[in-house]
């Protein structure tokens, strides 16, 4: 409440500059009071993906400390975030998987921008107490393990990639997510890219018909089950590998290198994928199995979802400012929380895109 007069001044000032410049911030003047009318204490509300929540919540608190703009982000899941954005009950959504065309059409507020906020990586975690050095795996082998075609750890194909490693003659126990999840989407996106059989079979989605294995709820559930069960293998976000001190496999990328999951390797994957994009890309892209040198194959972008045209110009300005802050200052927080920062090549393009949110006219 203490900040209210400041907010009025800020918004009024914004409206005045908008009127005087007169070029592209046409509709701001009609909303000079809108900025202070937000109830519940938050200036902006957002909802969606749980995966980037630790980062977003740090951003929210740092941004509030730096600028006084309060943002309320609720981790309700990617699917929920998309639904709330479609219904316009939040100012921005967040999702690990890009919205499909049919989801885009259902958005009541018009065109939706996908703005990648950070790069995530999914690790193949396993529990083999006898094996001390990191296991090397290739895409087709991972796919065949999760297809149930490779069932023993000492399978000749795994052994061929790991000379000198004594692999146990035990069952491979596959663990996957039991609920719909962005992590599953990214992982199945990768498996579809490296295995035609997987693409034709379970396919790509937030939730799949798994050929083998058991389901656990949440990254923590999967990580916990792997930690507890010798012979288990599963896919989890990098942060959970570190928290649970699990072993993670080196994965072979299209350049033939075996790459450990790390933030540099994920940023490299994003960089290589972005280099191939056309200038006007909507960023609804997959960066799995990215060709770059040193790129980690199971990397993904997580998105902020915003309407190109927001009816409330003051909110549009605040949101655009926040996104620009997140793309620049905010990226410094990524590594310490086990995310990978966006490659510098993306930042300028995305900042321009965030700007066009603020200037959009009401429908």
């Amino acid at each position: 409440m203490r900040r209210t007069p400041v907010a009025i001044l800020a918004v009024a000032g914004l409206a005045m500059t908008a009127c005087s410049s007169g070029s592209d911030k046409k509709n701001d003047s009609s909303h000079s009071a809108a900025g202070v009318s937000t109830s519940g204490g938050a200036d902006l509300t957002g909802a969606g993906a749980t995966f980037p929540y630790p980062l977003y919540s740090r951003w929210v608190s740092e941004y509030a400390a730096a600028t006084g703009v309060k943002i309320n982000y609720q981790q309700i899941g990617s699917g929920g975030g998309i639904k709330q954005l479609q219904e316009q009950t939040v100012d921005f959504g967040a999702s690990d998987a890009p919205m499909s065309d049919s989801e885009m059409v259902k958005a009541k507020g018009g065109a939706v921008f996908h703005i990648p906020s950070v790069v995530g990586l999914v690790a193949i975690a396993y529990n083999l107490p006898q094996v001390t050095q990191p296991l090397k795996l290739s895409g087709p082998i991972v796919a065949d393990i999760f297809l149930g075609k490779i069932t023993k750890w000492n399978d000749s194909r795994i052994a061929a990639l790991n000379p000198g490693v004594t692999l146990p003659n035990s069952d491979i126990l596959v663990v996957h997510r039991s609920e719909g999840s962005g992590t599953t989407y990214v992982f199945s996106d990768y498996l579809s890219a490296v295995s035609p059989t997987w693409k034709a079979g379970p396919g790509k989605g937030k939730e799949l018909q798994w050929p083998v294995g058991l389901g656990e709820r949440g990254n923590d559930g999967v990580a916990g089950r792997i930690k507890q069960t010798p012979g288990a293998v599963g896919y989890v976000e990098m942060a959970f590998v570190k928290q649970n001190r699990l072993s993670s496999a080196l994965l072979q990328n299209p350049s033939g290198q075996f790459v450990a999951p790390s933030d540099e390797a994920a940023t490299a994957a994003a960089d290589a994928a972005i280099a191939k994009l056309p200038a006007n890309s909507d960023y609804r892209i997959s960066i799995v199995n990215s060709p770059g040198a040193g790129a980690y194959p199971i990397s993904s972008l997580t998105y902020l979802l915003v309407y190109q045209h927001m009816t409330d110009a003051a909110k549009a300005k605040k949101l655009s400012d926040f996104i620009k802050w997140a793309l620049t200052t905010g990226q410094k927080d990524a590594s310490s929380l086990d995310y990978a920062p966006l490659p510098p090549s993306m930042i300028a393009k995305l900042t321009a895109r965030a700007d066009s949110v603020a200037t959009g006219s009401a429908r």
């Binding site: 609920e179 719909g180 058991l214 507890q228 069960t229």
Partner: protein, 330 residues
């Protein structure tokens, strides 16, 4: 209970003589009566409303897949193909498994407490058994994840497979994950034990003293007295308690989700992961991918609703029957 209440009602003055029926007070009485009637009607209408909503929401899936929805074991959100057979199967199997484990234990505890236990031990044990019912299911789930499942994986499964050499027996095939139908049955057994035990204890206590004395007078041993005179008398009441436990097992969600392994597959092996209807809904509802997926989950909910209604109806009927038998006996 009904035996206590019935005579008192009968001995009251006839309604015409009750002071409340006097003219001046009748307005307040009528308001009171309509208000309580209203309250009473809220509950059944709430139930009907829930049933209606669940069936309505599940209708698109039931229409798309027909009755095959309950016999198909496909659950493929990517291609929009859903079938609830593994979940229905898992619900029934895990609940029955729980009953098989819990019933002898619970009845045994109840017999001990009502027939054998000295007073100083009866109260504490009864208290602890009842306390099992007060533990939140998520705590059972955590215990299952951290203690029960590792124990089953590291000791029970190797024992059955390697020591008893039963690994090829259909009930025990497959890789030893730990989370399994067996783990779910075990945890459910512990959870429903206090319900069955409490009901059985009450029923045994209601068996008339004359019944016991008659058996003893005929020269029966204590064991014969319990087996031939007390248990038959209490049988339908015990069955009612078991059915109540079954209802609880069918609806249990959280603890089962944490130990059953959440796998859409019909498997005869108790050591393989499975699914139940309740855990399926709990897992997938928040992140359901499309309208048909949500509808399929609601249809599973409708199926679960039907099963629990049927089980509760059976329990009611059995309890009612017990009460009548009890009346006839005294």
């Amino acid at each position: 209970m009904s035996e206590d209440v019935a005579p008192r009602i009968a001995s009251r003055p006839t309604p015409a003589l009750v002071p409340a029926e006097i003219e001046g007070a009748s307005y307040g009485d009528r308001v009171y009566r309509w208000a309580t009637t209203g309250f009473a009607l809220v509950i059944p209408s709430l139930l009907l409303l829930i049933a209606w909503e669940v069936f309505r929401a599940g209708w698109p899936a039931l229409k798309t897949f027909g009755l095959g929805f309950f016999t198909s074991s496909a659950w493929d959100p990517v291609n929009g193909n859903f079938g609830a057979a593994p979940a229905v199967f898992g619900t029934i199997v895990s609940s029955i498994l729980a009953l098989i484990i819990a019933t002898p234990l619970a009845v045994g505890v109840a017999i001990f407490l009502s027939e054998f236990a000295p007073n100083w031990i009866r109260q504490p044990i009864a208290f602890f058994v009842d306390l099992l019912a007060a533990i939140p299911s998520v705590v059972y789930g955590l215990w299952g994840v951290l203690v029960l499942v590792p124990f089953i994986r590291a000791h029970v499964m190797p024992f059955v497979k390697d020591t008893l050499h039963l690994g090829d027996f259909p009930l025990f095939t497959g890789a030893a994950y730990g989370p399994s139908m067996f783990a779910a049955g075990c945890i459910l057994a512990i959870m429903i034990l206090p319900y069955i035990s409490a009901v059985t204890r009450e029923v045994l206590r209601a068996v008339p003293r004359s019944q016991r004395e008659a058996a003893l007078a005929l020269g029966a041993t204590r064991w014969e007295m319990i087996w031939d005179a007390v248990l038959p008398y209490a049988r339908s009441g015990i069955v009612g308690g078991v059915i109540l436990g079954l209802g609880r097992a069918i609806g249990e969600t959280m603890a089962v989700t944490m130990v059953i392994g959440n796998r859409h597959e019909l498997s005869a092996s108790l050591f393989q992961p499975g699914y139940t209807m309740a855990s399926l809904i709990a897992n997938e509802f928040a992140e359901a991918t499309n309208d048909l997926h949500i509808s399929a989950l609601m249809a599973v909910g409708a199926g679960l609703f039907l099963v629990t209604v049927i089980v509760n109806a059976i329990a009611r009927w059995l309890v009612w029957r017990t009460a009548r038998v009890g009346d006839g006996g005294t």
